[in-house]
Structures are given as structure tokens and as C-alpha cells.
């Protein structure tokens, strides 16, 4: 049973690390702000709970894992909100996404 938990935890940690790295590569390589926030906002929101879940599985039932659970809930609530708010603020501040044909695309919405 404990081996199962250890395996699950290792899987979570590995997936989380992988997502972290993909997000960072996206942040560095993507062409403009909106694609970058897309790369980071999505991967980060999954990577953080996965990594913390890996830790919780290792810790077992204790106060610390309850608090880590709180961190997970907090991150799940705030991370997408912050991404959404930042993208909205950037758009309102006048930053335009790079689009293949900017005028035509902006007309129809």
C-alpha cells in the first residue's frame, strides 16, 4: 500500500516538474504577451497542485498536509484569477495581441 502511495507521489512530482518546465519554455519562446500568459497560466495552475499533491501523499495524514491542501485550494482559486486579470489589464492598457491579419480579426468581435 505504501509503495502505491510512493509511486503515485513520484508520478505527481514528475508530471508537475514537467509541466513547470514546459511552462517556462513557453514563457521564454512564445512571441507575445498573450501567448506567453497562455503558456504559463494554464500549465502553472496544474503544475502547482500536482507538485503539492505529491508532497501531501508523502506526508500522509497530518496538520502539514492539511495546510498544503489549503495552499492547493488557494492556488487553484487565485492563479487563474490573476492570469485572467493580468491579461484583461494588458488588453485594456492597449497591448494588442499579434494576429495574422490584425484589422480583419478585430472587426468581428
Amino acid at each position: 500500500m505504501s509503495e502505491l502511495w510512493a509511486g503515485l507521489s513520484a508520478l505527481c512530482l514528475a508530471l508537475g516538474s514537467l509541466l513547470c518546465l514546459t511552462g517556462a519554455v513557453g514563457l521564454l519562446r512564445f512571441p507575445d504577451f498573450f501567448t506567453r500568459i497562455h503558456a504559463v497560466g494554464v500549465t502553472d495552475t496544474l503544475a502547482t497542485p500536482l507538485l503539492l499533491l505529491g508532497l501531501i501523499l508523502q506526508l500522509g495524514w497530518c496538520l502539514d498536509s492539511f495546510k498544503l491542501g489549503l495552499v492547493v485550494v488557494f492556488v487553484l482559486a487565485t492563479n487563474p484569477t490573476a492570469s485572467h486579470a493580468m491579461a484583461k489589464a494588458a488588453l485594456d492598457a492597449g497591448l494588442q495581441p499579434q494576429l495574422p491579419d490584425p484589422p480583419a480579426r478585430r472587426q468581428d468581435d
Binding site: 485572467h84 486579470a85 485594456d92
Partner: protein, 323 residues
């Protein structure tokens, strides 16, 4: 081994960040880098076993300082003009001073040396005797509130004075009923719903940090900042001085003074009972119980003062800058 790796990596990040902050002239970017700098410094404090310091640096350095600097930039302009003087003279001064300081470290005890003089003097006594004399597991809290309570009283007074000076310099401008320049972006529904849900938990966490400081990381300084941060978040998201309806500005100087008075009162009570200033043993029949009560009251005073001063500073800046 991992510890040392983390240490070196974070120090390298700090170096890169600070050198980049010198070069950039977009002050917004400089403030962003300053935020990154204090986050890495806080992570570094964790690797150096300073949990309480990391706690404080996170709340204060990354949170409040960046917010205040952005508010100032909002009022003073975002771009720095190119330097008018040649950088050679300052560079010479800096390199000389740095070389002298590095020369001075050559004789210093090495990093992590348990036999260094700094580790053997009064610190060893605190670690050995505080369990019996103060009875609080967190030695940092024991030293802060009990052994060196006199220092902390001074620091609290400095914070109180700084808050008063900011209020004198800037004042809290009266609210305007309606601001015509408000943009639709400030009416972010998603943000408002999430923040409304989170704020009670932030305040609860603040209370936890305030009262759990004897047993783990935390205490009055951090709790005050956290609770103030909760109100700052409320004000930022709901706009138009929402927080001022919760804690009206005219309360602030009184609350801050009440915090200092609570701290000082506990100290003077010891004097009146014929003991030394800030001797908590007189507060209860048993010395350890007295210490517990004294630390609780003193931390409460610190928390109240820090909370009101941070909030007053935020009101002073935001009433000029953000609306």
C-alpha cells in the same frame, strides 16, 4: 548538499537581479526586479534556517514595498533620465569600499562554523535557557518579546513615528464621490467574487500567525502586515476607498497609539510592581505563566501598531495615487 546548491543558486539569482536593476531605466521594470529580488532573498532565508525572517521578508518586502513603490511611480513618472555625471567616480568609490570590505572578511570565521564567536556568546544562552526561563518553543519569539523586549519596544516606536511622519507629509485625502476616469477594467467581476471569498481566510490566517507565533514562525510584526494586506487587497479590487469604510482613517492614529501604549503599559506595570521594566514575571503568580501572558500582550500591541501603520501608509499613498 542540496542546501548548499540552493544557497548558491539563489545567491546567483540575487546577483543577476541586482546588476540588471542597476542598468534598467524603466523604473517599473526596476520595481518588478526588486520584487523578484526580495522573493529570492526570502527563499534564501529559508535555506539559512531563518523561518521568521523569511516570513517577514515575504510579507513586507515582496508585498508592501512593491505596492508603495508602484504608488510612488504612479505619482512621479515611470522613466528615469540618463545619468548626467560620469559613472567613473562612483564606480571607483564603490570598488574601493567593496575591496576593503572583502579584505576584512578574510579573517572572518567561515560560513556555518559552529565555533564562531557569534554563536558562542549570548545566543548559546538563549538556546539553552529559554525553555526554562520563558517557556516558549520559538526562541526567536522568546528573544524578540522577552529577552530583548526593550529593543522591540524601540522598534515599535520607530514604526509608529514613521507612520505619523507619512501621515503628516501626505495626509489622507478626502474621498471623491465619483471618479470620472475610472475604467471598466476596474470592474472585474471574476476578481471581485474570488477576492470576496478569500478575504475572510486571509484575516483568519493573520489571526493564526498572531497567536501561533510562540510555537512556529509568526508573531505580531507579520500578523499586522498580513491583516493590513487583506484590507489592501479589498481596497485594490473594489476601489473607491472600500477599505476606508471598514477602518476609517480617523481611527488609525489612535489605534497605532493604543498598540504602543499596550506594549509600554505592560512594561510600566512591571515597574509599578517594583520589578524591572518589561519584567513579565509580575503579570501572573507563576513566572512562566507571566511570561506567556506578557508575550501575548506585547505581540498584540506590536500587531496593532504594525497593522495600523501599514494601513495608514497605504491610505496616504492610495488616496493620492489610485483614484
Amino acid at each position: 548538499m542540496i542546501e548548499r546548491l540552493l544557497d548558491l543558486f539563489l545567491l546567483a539569482l540575487l546577483l543577476i537581479t541586482s546588476l540588471a536593476a542597476i542598468r534598467l531605466r524603466d523604473l517599473f521594470a526596476v520595481v518588478m526586479l526588486f520584487g523578484i529580488y526580495s522573493l529570492s532573498a526570502a527563499a534564501l532565508f529559508m535555506t539559512l534556517d531563518a523561518v521568521d525572517v523569511a516570513f517577514t521578508e515575504a510579507a513586507v518586502g515582496a508585498g508592501i514595498t512593491s505596492v508603495l513603490m508602484l504608488a510612488t511611480l504612479r505619482l512621479t513618472g515611470r522613466y528615469e533620465q540618463p545619468p548626467t555625471h560620469s559613472p567613473l567616480l562612483p564606480l571607483g568609490v564603490v570598488v574601493t569600499t567593496g575591496a576593503v570590505l572583502i579584505y576584512a572578511t578574510l579573517d572572518a570565521p567561515h560560513f556555518g562554523d559552529p565555533t564562531a564567536p557569534a554563536q558562542r556568546q549570548v545566543a548559546a544562552h538563549y538556546l539553552e535557557a529559554s525553555a526554562g526561563e520563558v517557556g516558549v518553543p520559538n526562541v526567536v519569539t522568546a528573544v524578540l518579546a522577552s529577552y530583548r523586549g526593550y529593543d522591540t519596544l524601540g522598534e515599535t516606536l520607530v514604526i509608529f513615528t514613521a507612520g505619523l511622519v507619512v501621515l503628516l507629509l501626505l495626509g489622507i485625502q478626502p474621498l471623491q464621490p465619483h471618479c470620472p476616469t475610472r475604467r471598466p477594467a476596474s470592474e472585474q467581476v471574476v476578481l471581485q467574487v474570488i477576492v470576496k471569498m478569500l478575504i475572510p481566510f486571509i484575516l483568519l490566517f493573520g489571526a493564526y500567525v498572531q497567536f501561533h507565533g510562540d510555537f512556529g514562525a509568526g508573531g505580531g510584526f507579520q500578523a499586522g502586515v498580513i491583516i493590513a494586506t487583506g484590507l489592501v487587497l479589498y481596497d485594490l479590487v473594489f476601489g473607491d476607498g472600500a477599505a476606508q469604510q471598514v477602518v476609517p482613517p480617523r481611527w488609525l492614529p489612535r489605534l497605532a497609539a493604543a498598540g504602543v501604549l499596550l506594549y509600554g503599559g505592560v512594561g510600566v506595570y512591571g515597574l509599578l510592581k517594583g520589578h524591572a521594566l518589561l519584567d513579565y514575571r509580575v503579570l501572573a503568580s507563576e513566572p512562566l505563566a507571566g511570561q506567556h501572558l506578557g508575550i501575548l500582550l506585547v505581540e498584540l500591541g506590536v500587531g496593532l501598531t504594525v497593522f495600523t501603520v501599514v494601513l495608514a501608509i497605504f491610505y496616504a499613498f492610495s488616496s493620492r495615487g489610485w483614484r
